[in-house]
Symmetry: C2
Subunit: 154 residues, 2 copies
């Protein structure tokens, strides 16, 4: 209590924002992306945009097919490029795209965050199945990311 | 993909911010509180501050003792008052305190959010036991709150 009495509120702002966009779910990615762009533009922050090709989503035959995987990679790369353009047109000055493959939550926490070093991670909330389903990948990131995490619900 | 190509990024801002402060954990409450105050001041938003007396933390003998409970209530009420003062001194214009009893996560989701109607809930991340422990109450709120939730890590 003594700590509380004596402290003075300081401005709390983030320095680097990373937003995860889901190539299969524009509905939940959009508000998260817009929030991340708004913060990045307003506070002049570098914005990382990450999309993960969920190779776990492909079945064994698809994985074996080079064409399918290659098409998926091209599609996700194009999607990411589109998000980068949208962010720049909105007025974000510094945008860094990240593309990887695997389980999104784990890949972002283990590989992308150590590279981009955000202090705020922005994720959308999946509501495919029921309104309380924030999605297993979002849950994973909320739990294991070393930085603050905002789950954006629309 | 067509949806993505055609959309134009809109400003995404919140309108009402609710921050949960833990009477037992100033360390994790502080950065959450400072973030909430910063957003509320900067965007001229009403700020709700909620503290829950965790009656589940009292053992049966303590619960039966009116004095212990009464002292706890007084302490939490004073703590909340202190946070309200700090927010006002920092420059937040509209501050609404909420005090209740029970399990924090459930009480905030079931009782406080329907009253204050925030579109952003700010919670701290407990790290009492290990760095990945965001706390069961924070987890509950991330999952069940009907609004966006930010877990602030310091």
């Amino acid at each position: 209590m003594a700590d509380l009495e004596n402290f003075e509120v300081q401005i709390h702002r983030y320095e680097r924002v990373l937003v995860a966009v889901d190539s299969d779910d524009f509905g939940s990615s959009r508000p998260a992306f817009e929030y991340a762009c708004t913060m990045a533009k307003m506070f002049h922050l570098p914005l990382g945009i990450v999309s993960i090709l969920e190779t776990g989503d492909l079945n064994i035959f698809q994985t074996l097919s080079r064409d399918v995987l290659s098409n998926q990679r091209t599609a996700v790369a194009h999607l990411l490029e589109t998000y980068v353009e949208k962010a720049k047109n909105f007025g974000v000055l510094e945008v860094a795209p990240y593309l990887s493959e695997g389980k999104p939550g784990r890949t972002i926490v283990d590989s992308i965050i150590p590279m981009f070093k955000p202090d705020l991670l922005v994720v959308g909330s999946e509501r495919k199945n029921n309104p309380n389903d924030i999605g297993s990948q979002a849950s994973y990131m909320v739990r294991y990311a070393p930085c603050s995490v905002i789950v954006v619900r629309s």
